[in-house]
Symmetry: C2
Subunit: 248 residues, 2 copies
DNA sequence: GTCTATATAGGGATAGAC
DNA sequence: GTCTATCCCTATATAGAC
């Protein structure tokens, strides 16, 4: 079978992008090693994982400002002084998280435009790709959304631009589809924002989908089906190459 | 012409619910006067408005934890000691905001179920009603969303229940419509969450809609049209009693 | 009803031992 | 590379004058 992004299964995505576990933390280390004092990669990677994981646990439950570095020290088992060998400051920690996340999104989602996909395939790949990214980096997404206010104005602007560019990509595929006679669409901007809204809910309201036992691929498929319905493209749904079991 | 909620214009909404300006702050005073030392209503109302407005300005731009009571004192022109005549503590301030907002939503949106509206009219009223509430209480919504983590577990649970009940109401109207043969819908839960997602975006991403010059009623109409498209109810849209100018 | 002055705690960050 | 001990600041909250 074809590879990601032609094959939009989670398995194909995982095989194309190796982002989980150790490779993820190694990537984080590479991105920010100039800023830290620790030179030994193995030591650094293990502790970076501890620090970031603990930060997500604490900050995502009570907020970054409410999390003290003493809390973080207890949770990681690393002393206060020790932490400062890995981060420049508390603000720097948040800044690094946003930077890493943005870079990964850019690589995985931004790279889709180079694939020259047909409008429908492109929209499907964007939606499934974002959902799969969230599956893997869920706490990163949530953190960046909730703590954006605490970052520098410059970094805030970067994040807004990512969202605008994301929607531009969606709108471009929609326009192409309209020109090809596949879709009809009155308000592409609002439709793009609808997709963004639904994707963001997947991490913002994870409690709700967990409560209702909604599966990852089921949700991505629903977002895609909704979009197709709003574009008046019923036949496209039937052509979907990925068949999912529907919960009745 | 019929009154709200039959007439879904903003004007009709405003006439039915007098929530803007002084009446709003008087309502806040009534709800929480037992908790404050100031007895003179006129003095209290004026200062409550100052305190809440300043809290929204500061907390919504840099976060509640990052806003100190010294900041709040400067912004309101009320001394540190003075503030404590109006609030019990910083946590109490956040708690009161959430409580007031929840009570208003319950009154305006929760009350819609007593109106015995037809499915399509009910869905329209819920969507337009929520958007109009946000128009008036936008900073309240944003504050409650972003600062929910800082509230008591009990209050967090209340807020989640509001969201679940809101979606139950949507699903009920959808079911009625399906039984009446008006709609078709595979996944009512996910469709309800789509509507919630779009409504929340209206306050979460106000910068984006402002940038794109999307008007309030235009947005509400789009959310409604999208829902109708996903329910396979094209004819319903044409029947819409409110005609809006479409930006081309 | 509003203010100034102050008590007390906890925060981020660093120096220097090991 | 990691720790303990400490510096210094800013936060919330209150007491008591006006």
């Amino acid at each position: 079978m074809a590879e990601w992004p032609k094959d939009t299964s989670f398995k194909a995505f995982q095989e194309r992008w190796t982002l989980e576990g150790e490779p993820l933390w190694r990537g984080v280390f590479e991105m920010h090693k100039d800023k830290m004092q620790i030179k030994n990669a193995n030591v650094a990677i293990a502790n970076l994982e501890k620090i970031f994981t603990a930060t997500f646990k604490l900050a995502n439950s009570k907020g970054l400002q409410a999390m003290s570095l003493r809390d973080l020290s207890k949770e990681t088992g690393i002393s206060m002084g020790g932490l400062y060998a890995y981060i420049e400051s508390k603000d720097d920690l948040a800044s690094v998280i946003e930077g890493v996340q943005r870079q990964y999104i850019d690589k995985v989602i931004g790279g889709l435009t180079d694939e020259n996909l047909e409008p429908i395939d492109c929209l499907r790949a964007i939606i499934f790709g974002e959902i799969y990214m969230m599956e893997i980096m869920s706490p990163w997404y949530y953190f960046c959304f909730m703590e954006l206010k605490g970052l520098s104005k410059e970094q805030q602007q970067f994040a807004l631009n990512v969202e605008l560019r994301f929607e531009d990509t969606l709108m471009e595929s929609i326009s192409e589809g309209v020109e090809a006679g596949l879709f009809t669409c009155d308000k592409p901007e609002l439709l793009a924002s609808q997709v963004t809204a639904q994707l963001q809910q997947w991490h913002l309201k994870h409690w709700k989908f967990k409560l209702r036992e909604v599966k990852t691929e089921e949700y991505a498929q629903f977002v895609f089906d909704s979009l197709m319905a709003c574009l008046g493209a019923q036949q496209a749904i039937a052509e979907s190459p990925v068949k999912l079991q529907r919960i009745s």
